[in-house]
Amino acid sequence: MNYTLDFLPVIDGLPSLLAACLGTLGLALGGMILAIIIGVGGVMLRDSGIRQVRWLVIAFVELIRNTPFLVQIYFIYFALPLAGIRLDPTPTAIIALGINGGAYAIEIIRGGVQSIGKGQIEAGLALGLHKTQVFRLIVLKPALRAIYPSLTSQFILLTLTTSVASAIAAYELTSVAQRIESDSFRSFEVYGAVTLFYLVMSWLLMRIFGLIQSRYLSYPVK
C-alpha cells in the first residue's frame, strides 16, 4: 500500500488552523490566570488557620487531582446549566482549565511557601506587618521563584490539555483540526501539522516564562 502525502487541505486550512492556535493560547492564558488566582488564594485559605476552610481546600485539591480532566470539563459543561448558569463552551473550558490547573498550583505554590524560612515571616511581623501583608509582600515572590520551574511546566501541561476542550467543541486547535480532518480524510497531514503547532506554542510559552522570570522573579541569591 502506498500512501501519498497531500498537504493541500492543511495549506487550505492554514488560516483557520493559525486562528485556532490563538484560540488555544487564549484558553491557556485564561486558564493560567485563573489557576494562579486559585493557587495563591487556595494557599492563603489553606494556611488561614480556620480548620473548616483548610479541609475544604484539601478536599478540592484531592477531588481535582484524582479525577480525569475530561470528566471534569463534561461535568462543568453539563452541570452548570442545571444550576441555571449557561456558558458557551469556550468560557466553560477556561473555567475547567483554571480549576484543574489551580488545584495543582495550590500544591506547587504551597511547597514554595513552605520553603521560606520562619525568620522571614517573623521579621515581617516584628516590623508590624499583618499576616496577609507578610504573605503578599515577603513570602510570595521568593516562594514563586523557588517553584517557578514546576509551576511553568504545569502550565505547559495546562496548555496541552486545552486540546481536551475539543470534547465540548470549544474553539481551539484540536477541534478545528478535527473538522479539517473529517472533511479531507488527511489525518496524518493534519495531525502532523497540529503536532508541530503545539510544539511551537509550547516553545513560545517557555520563552515567555523565561522572560517573565528574568524580569520579575530574579534577584541575586547567595
Binding site: G119, A123, G124, L127, L129, L137, I138
Partner: protein
Amino acid sequence: MTNHATTPPAATDTPMIVMESVEKWYGGFKALTGINLSVRAGEKIVLCGPSGSGKSTLIRCINHLEAYEKGAIRVDGITLGDDSSTIDAVRREVGMVFQNFNLFPHLTVLQNCTLAPMRTLRQGRKEAEATARRLLDRVKILEQADKYPAQLSGGQQQRVAIARALCMGPKVMLFDEPTSALDPEMVKEVLDTMVALAEEGMTMICVTHEMGFARQVADRVIFMASGEIVEEAPPEVFFSKPSHARTKQFLGEILRGH
C-alpha cells in the same frame, strides 16, 4: 554616627518595659517560669545564659512573636493583649534584630527599609526613602542602598537589619544574638553600631555573649537559666562578684571560650 554622644542621656525612671510573672510553655515544657522584669526608658540590658535558658523566648514575648500563657507585659504603657490592636501598637514601638539578619532577599537594601514604614505607618515613598537613607547613613552603609541582601557581607546585612528596624522609629530595640552568625572580623562593625545606638539613648535589650559589649554599654546584665532570671547586676558587679554558682560556672565557660 553621632556627634552628641559625649554625654549619654541617662536612663530615666519611667518603665518602658514591664514584665510581670510571665510564664510561657511549649506544650508541656515550661520555657519561662514567672519572669519579672522592669526596664526603664533609655536603659540597656544585656541578657545572657546557657543555650535553651529562655533568652530568645523572653524577648520574643515582648513583641508577641511568642504568645505567653500567664502574666502581663506592658510596653510604653501599652498592655499587650491577645487582640491584634495592642500587638500592632507594641510592634510599632519595638524593633527587633535577629541572629540571621532576616533581610528580605527579593528587595533591595532601600526597599527592605521602606517596606514596613510605607505599609504600616502609611508613609509616602519620598518620606520613607528619606528616613531610610538617613538611617542607612547612620549605620554607614548608604552606598549599598541599591544592592540586594545577598550581595552584602554578614556584617553589612546586620547593619541594614538594624537600620530597617530603626526606620519604624522604635522606642525599644531587641537584639537576639546579633553577632553570633557573623565571621569574627565583622563582629566589631555591628557592635560599634549598637554602641552608638546605645549612646543615643535607645532602650535596648540585647541577648549576647559579647562580654566586652556588656561591660561597655549595659546598665544591667541579666543571667538566665532554665527559664528563670537567676541574677542581675550592673556589669562591674556581675563580672567581678557574681553571687550564684550557676552564674560563676557560666562566666567561667564564656571566658574560657574567648
